[in-house]
């Protein structure tokens, strides 16, 4: 028999929120989460290095947006990130774990670089169109293979796409060796550095040497297209149903295997296009670090935004600003890159954690629940 004889409520209980929170409340919770993360980071900064955290935050902002050049670089990198995230979203929404964006970016980049090298005599407009087409195609092929194998033999797409990354990486090494200039440097260097053939042209006035305006236009166009595709099209509806339950999809007459292949081809193609953006629109060269882990970071962006293409814009910027800012504080205060990555980690942790409080609430002992 029990030794407990009086009612004792547990100290803290977790209970689910009834109904849906109004938008201002849920975004309020997320903002509080962000604010708290800055406070915790601040305490950590003081404890570890004894610098005024506000100064550090200032440096982050300054590092990312301090000058017009920095701002443009931040915008440029955010757009590349956004492009990858928008490409990954349909696959992940369908619960197809495409962790092969790295490879898809690289093959898109290789295809772009090849066009720049071998077709530079073509007129600029035609050349750019061809470059876009082949980068899309290259990424699509890289997506098709794991998609086809999954549909046909139910292979594990996570392992498959991961291994495709290594193939793409080796392929990149091969082409870097083939195209290296100067000979023996093991680097491709700026492709068409003098004539700028196959470089995305300036859209606005030439602020420094590039303004990356076309990057923004292309990526936002893709984002808008994917927003409509995911939310308004029949294909988008199929993706949403499959992601929720494959059985329901079959019940509704959706041909699941066909949708898998189609969606992963699209996903790969857009990641391939990101390779084009990275090569033609930003670095103008190709190397094994052209993808540089962005294929993985973009997964975080896609999930944080819950696959909403428009919300991904915000998270792309947030992550890139944090990244640029982290580099700035690392160099300014002589810190290692790891300290700044800790800060990024803490902020992400709080953002993810706030989702919990959007769905659940804590109740404390003794507090009467109000209706």
């Amino acid at each position: 028999m029990s030794t407990v004889t009086t009612t004792r409520e547990p100290l803290i209980r977790i209970s689910k929120r009834g109904g849906v929170l109004p938008a201002w409340k849920s975004w309020g919770i997320r903002l509080i989460g962000l604010a708290l993360s800055l406070v915790v980071c601040g305490l950590l900064i003081v404890a570890l290095i004894g610098i005024n955290p506000l100064k550090v935050y200032g440096t982050i902002i300054d590092g990312a947006l301090g000058t017009s050049k920095r701002t443009w670089v931040t915008i440029r990198d955010s757009m590349t990130m956004l492009c990858i995230a928008v490409g990954l979203a349909p696959a992940f929404k369908m619960r197809f774990w495409n962790i092969g964006a790295e490879g898809q970016i690289l093959v898109g980049g290789i295809a772009t670089a090849a066009c720049m090298i071998y077709l530079k005599s073509l007129p600029t407009f035609l050349l750019l169109i061809i470059m876009i087409a082949v980068s899309l195609l290259a990424g699509a092929v890289w997506g098709f293979l794991p998609g086809f194998f999954k549909a046909k033999w139910n292979t594990n797409e996570t392992l498959f796409t991961l291994m495709m990354n290594y193939i793409a990486l080796q392929l990149t090494s091969f082409f870097v060796a083939k195209w290296e200039t100067p000979y023996g440097s093991n680097k491709v260097g700026m492709i068409n550095a003098t004539g700028h053939e196959g470089w995305l042209p300036n859209l606005f006035s030439d602020g420094f040497n590039k303004d990356f305006g076309w990057n923004v236009v292309i990526v936002l166009a893709v984002t808008l297209f994917m927003y409509l595709y995911m939310n308004k099209s029949k294909h988008g509806y199929e993706i949403a149903v499959i992601g929720d339950s494959e059985n329901t999809a079959r019940y509704a007459g959706i041909r699941v295997n066909k949708a898998y292949v189609r969606t992963i081809v699209l996903s790969g193609a857009i990641c391939g296009l990101a390779g084009f953006i990275a090569v033609s629109g930003a670095s103008h060269t190709i190397s094994t670090s052209t993808a540089g882990g962005r294929g993985f970071t973009a997964i975080i962006v896609a999930w944080l935004a819950q696959f909403n293409s428009v919300v991904m814009i915000i998270f792309s910027f947030l992550l890139i600003i944090l990244e640029k800012g982290a580099q700035a504080i690392a160099s300014q205060y002589g810190l290692s890159q790891e300290v700044s990555e800790m800060i990024t980690g803490i902020i992400l942790f709080f953002i993810l954690g706030s989702e919990f409080f959007v769905n659940y609430t804590l109740r404390f002992r003794g507090k009467k629940v109000t209706k």
Partner: protein
């Protein structure tokens, strides 16, 4: 001396967000009685019992066990207080024996002595007349035996208050009788029992007293001897309800689907359908009876093109007397493209019939998304349909975009059934169409099905409540272990006869 109650719940309130699941409930379980807890789905029965078994913690109120105030904050607290709950879904390890499952999780001092445990299990079984072998593996057991293991498990732990959550849902009438005999034996031994059920005749059969909940509130209690089906229903629903199902004589009956020698295997190669043959007629309600898991799910999914058929034929005869079409080998999209409008309410609502993360509108689109030319989906018509069902079937939801997975089970079912009937189908298949619905809505659904039948639709009704099957259907197909053990006229057979067929294999029949 005033008798002390085994359990006394005083002023218990439990909220989930803004929903009040239990509101100021006072419930008493007297020593040595069987109490039925009766209420429609969503009336808060399970929530209330989960507070006794330590799964939820009440927001307000006090629980007394044998007169002493207690705190039950975890299932362990419940056990310490001698309360054991037998859940609807068994929590057993398949590859373990009965004894191993029973001692699992017990923290006894010293070495685990399985032999002694097995002996103790045997003693308990002998005492109450349980029919299980302590050393048998769970996967070798029937559903009713598994349930028995669950009961022995709580008795082994010394429970003297037992709560059974809808224990008869998975049993045949004969097994139910056996369970009730056991419950009476336990009562004779001084145990106190609560049984949750919504089958009225069972309430009248087994309990001493009935407590009724409605919409989270305690309505009252009556001695069983003073109650009858009608009076209990009225208390449960809050107004007078007619309990008769109108069953008009079928007109213009003709074969719609002819199923011949269908055999199907699951992914593991286990035979799920074994040489099944029968005819589904247009203008008739065909009932399919059987113990849960006898092949009902596989049968309906085979017809719908969702389950691979190994051999046999399923032939469709359209309403326009056009040429018969073979359905085996067609997927749902091909069936649709052949102009066959087949509605299907699957058993697994959120896992097959609906998309949990979407609202009503998104779920209406499951049937219409392919319609219309162009790349974009039409949301307007589904939206209208959603609004119509929302109103007509009184679905409780804040909006047509509120995710259906967050609705209550009954409302989810309304959305699904409403959509399927709105298809204007030529075949309407339903698996447990009223599971989770309150009595009133259940009768609405029965009437809707009958209405479809009179329109010349071939209606298939897979059910678990034999009384309803016998009242609603024109013919019954009885499944047992994947075989058809009988095709009978529902107007000319008794419940007991159906119960026998449910456990009797055709092969044995043939041997007679």
């Amino acid at each position: 001396m005033e008798s002390v109650c085994a359990i006394k719940m005083e002023n218990i309130t439990k909220r989930f967000g803004s929903i009040v699941a239990n509101k100021g409930i006072n419930l008493e379980l007297r020593e040595g009685e069987i109490l039925s807890l009766l209420g429609e789905n969503g009336s808060g029965k399970t929530t209330l019992m989960n507070m006794l078994s330590g799964i939820y913690f009440p927001d307000e109120g006090q629980i007394y066990v044998h007169g002493k105030p207690v705190t039950i904050a975890s299932p362990k607290d419940a056990f310490d207080n001698g309360i054991g709950m037998i859940h609807q879904h068994f929590k057993l390890v398949d590859v373990f024996t009965a004894t191993e499952n029973i001692v699992l999780g017990l923290e006894d001092e010293g070495k685990l002595d399985l032999k002694a445990a097995s002996r103790k299990v045997k003693e308990i079984c002998d005492k109450y007349g349980f029919d299980i072998d302590p050393d048998q593996k769970i996967y070798d057991m029937s559903v009713s035996q598994k349930q028995t293991v669950e009961i022995v498990k709580v008795l082994y732990r010394g429970a003297d208050i037992l709560i059974l959550d809808e224990p008869t849902a998975v049993l045949t009438p004969q097994e139910t009788d056996k369970l009730f005999a056991i419950m009476r034996a336990m009562k004779a031994d001084g145990k106190s029992l609560i049984i949750i059920t919504h089958k009225l005749h069972e309430v009248l059969d087994v309990s001493d007293r009935v407590a009724i909940l409605r919409k989270g509130e305690y309505i009252g209690d009556v001695a069983t001897k003073d109650a009858n089906q009608q009076s209990l229903t009225d208390m449960m629903v809050g107004r007078s309800v007619s309990l008769n199902i109108d069953r008009p004589t079928p007109v213009n009956v003709k074969p719609r689907l002819v199923i011949e020698n269908v055999t199907a295997y699951d992914e593991l190669g286990v035979k799920r359908l074994d040489d099944v043959s029968f005819t589904i007629n247009a203008g008739e309600v065909l009932g399919i009876a059987g113990v849960a898991g006898s092949g009902q799910k596989e049968l309906l999914e085979s017809i719908a093109g969702l389950y691979p058929v190994a051999s046999g034929k399923i032939t469709y005869f359209g309403p326009e007397n056009d040429k018969p079409r073979e359905l085996v080998g067609l997927d749902p999209m091909s069936i649709r493209k052949n102009g066959i409008c087949m509605s299907f309410v699957p058993e697994d609502r959120l896992g097959m019939g609906l998309v949990g993360t979407m609202g009503m509108t998104g779920n209406m689109m499951l049937r219409s998304w392919r319609k219309g030319k162009g790349l974009f989906v039409n949301r307007k018509e589904p939206e209208e349909l959603a609004n119509r069902i929302w109103k007509d079937l009184e679905v409780v939801t804040p909006s047509t975009n509120f995710p259906v997975r967050r609705m209550s089970g009954g409302n989810v079912q309304k959305v699904l059934v409403g959509r399927e009937i709105a298809q204007a189908p030529s075949v309407l298949m339903t698996a447990y169409a009223v599971r989770g619905l309150d009595i009133n809505t259940s009768y609405t659904i029965y009437n809707l099905l009958t209405e479809q039948k009179m329109k010349g639709v071939a209606v298939v009704y897979v059910g678990e409540d034999l009384d309803v099957l016998l009242e609603l259907c024109d013919r019954l197909v009885i499944l047992c272990g994947g075989q058809v053990s009988g095709v009978v006229d529902a107007r000319a057979i008794t419940k007991e006869e159906v119960g026998l067929l449910m456990t009797q294999h055709r092969k044995e029949d043939a041997a007679e």
